[in-house]
Amino acid sequence: MEKHLRIELIIERMAHKRACRVLEAGGMTGYTVVPAMAGYGNSKRWSRDTDLSASGDMVVIISIGDEAKVRPVLDQIGDLLGAHIGVVTVTEVEVLRPGRF
């Protein structure tokens, strides 16, 4: 059976469409974007409530796919992250209905 991987990408809300385009272009069959409300990194905190411009907001993008598709996409994401913040983890997962990925 194929191995499935779950990409989790934490990135600036303002830049998330770029990441989405990378995922789509890379052939991932889907992704889901979840808004975050606060965070910390690099000894700075952010929170939705501290910033009227919402320019500091982050989102979490979840995308599941089979390994063959995920690997090349990860390289592309690495390229995107040259310019943007971005925390990327990849987890091995079991899926229901593997046909859909």
Binding site: R18, R21, D49, L52, S53
Partner: protein, 328 residues
């Protein structure tokens, strides 16, 4: 000076102070993000409509067009000057200096509203086309800043993965404040005084009250930003946030003098030029210059320059407008 005092003690400024105090005392209270964003849209619709209705009462003259042009030129020009000051007097690198400069070239619509009120209280009129000037001054500054950041390799050679042709242009020229401000201006212009009669209770009567709530939230944001960000600001940077508005104001006053603008209009053009953006430009910078640090430009613009402008700045700008009209 009476005007200065009554401005300082107006509920709007007091609510800003309340928010700031609460944040500095580390209260956990907050205004939901959706409400703040909704109020921002409401305020811009109201300002746009009002400006449009005013404009519908007079034909478009060459004078008006010249003022619009002056606004655009100022917005292109100010970031250059701000950038030079930042590079000479602070330790900010090229990208951060450019990003900060963009904020000072663009405008703050709440500062504009506060000035409109102060101008009215001082007994002067102002034209609706100043709203159009505000809309036009939002973006040129961003273009100057991108140019400044990219000089000498500050920018990237190849586009970021996933970035799209025209994405930045859309973000910059079609951001919410421009769409709503310009759209409402045109709608107010088309519909006129009579056509907007039924929406007056919402857009005119409530305006001051909504502004109070919005400024409470701005105070909270500014206070939190200051508390978390002040360590990143050197004395020289904070100083920039205080003298730069005055520098901008003088340049704008020269333009206003050259164009022979009446007191009210001149005061507003000066205020627009002296004000700094804290909503539209920070958002654009995240896309255009992601390497720049929001904790610098946001704290400076919202935490230092905005409070300075609405308390001390506006009376000075009105005084400047009187001066160039020979009434100082």
């Amino acid at each position: 000076m009476d005007v200065a005092l009554s401005t300082l003690l107006s509920p709007i400024i007091l609510f800003f102070a309340l928010g700031m105090a609460a944040a500095l005392l580390r209260s956990q209270m907050s205004v939901p993000e959706a409400i703040a964003k909704g109020m921002a849209i409401y305020l811009m619709m109201a300002i746009g409509l009002k400006g449009g209705v005013e404009m519908s009462k007079n034909p478009l003259t060459t004078e008006v067009l010249l003022v619009l042009l002056a606004g655009i030129v100022l917005s292109f020009l100010i970031p250059l000057i701000a950038f030079i000051f930042l590079r000479l007097t602070t330790k900010l690198d090229q990208v951060n200096a450019a990003a900060t400069a963009a904020h000072y070239g663009s405008i703050s619509i709440v500062t504009f509203v506060a000035a409109t009120e102060a101008v009215r209280l001082s007994g002067f009129d102002s034209g609706g086309h100043l709203v159009a000037v505000a809309a036009l001054m939002e973006t040129p500054a961003i273009i100057t800043a991108l140019f400044l950041a990219s000089r000498g390799g500050g920018g990237r050679e190849k586009p970021v993965a996933g970035s799209e042709q025209g994405e930045l242009v859309r973000e910059v020229f079609l951001n919410a404040s421009i769409v709503v401000l310009v759209g409402a201006l045109v709608i107010g212009w088309i519909a006129g005084e009579e056509g907007t009669e039924t929406v007056r209770p919402f857009f005119v009567d409530l305006f001051q009250g909504v502004l109070c709530l919005f400024l409470l939230d701005m105070g909270l944001s500014a206070g939190r930003g200051l508390r978390q960000g002040w360590r990143q600001l050197s004395v020289m940077t904070v100083g920039f946030g205080l003298y730069m508005p005055l520098v901008s104001a003088c340049i704008a006053a020269a333009f206003a003098y050259a164009l022979g603008m009446p007191v009210g209009d001149a005061a507003l053009l000066i205020t627009l030029t002296a004000s700094a953006s804290y909503i539209a430009v920070p958002a654009a910078m995240r896309l255009a210059l992601p390497e720049a640090k929001p904790s610098i430009y946001l704290t400076l613009s919202l935490g230092v320059t905005f409070p300075f402008n609405v308390t001390i700045g506006i009376p000075i700008y009105i005084y400047l407008a009187l001066l160039i009209n020979g009434q100082g």
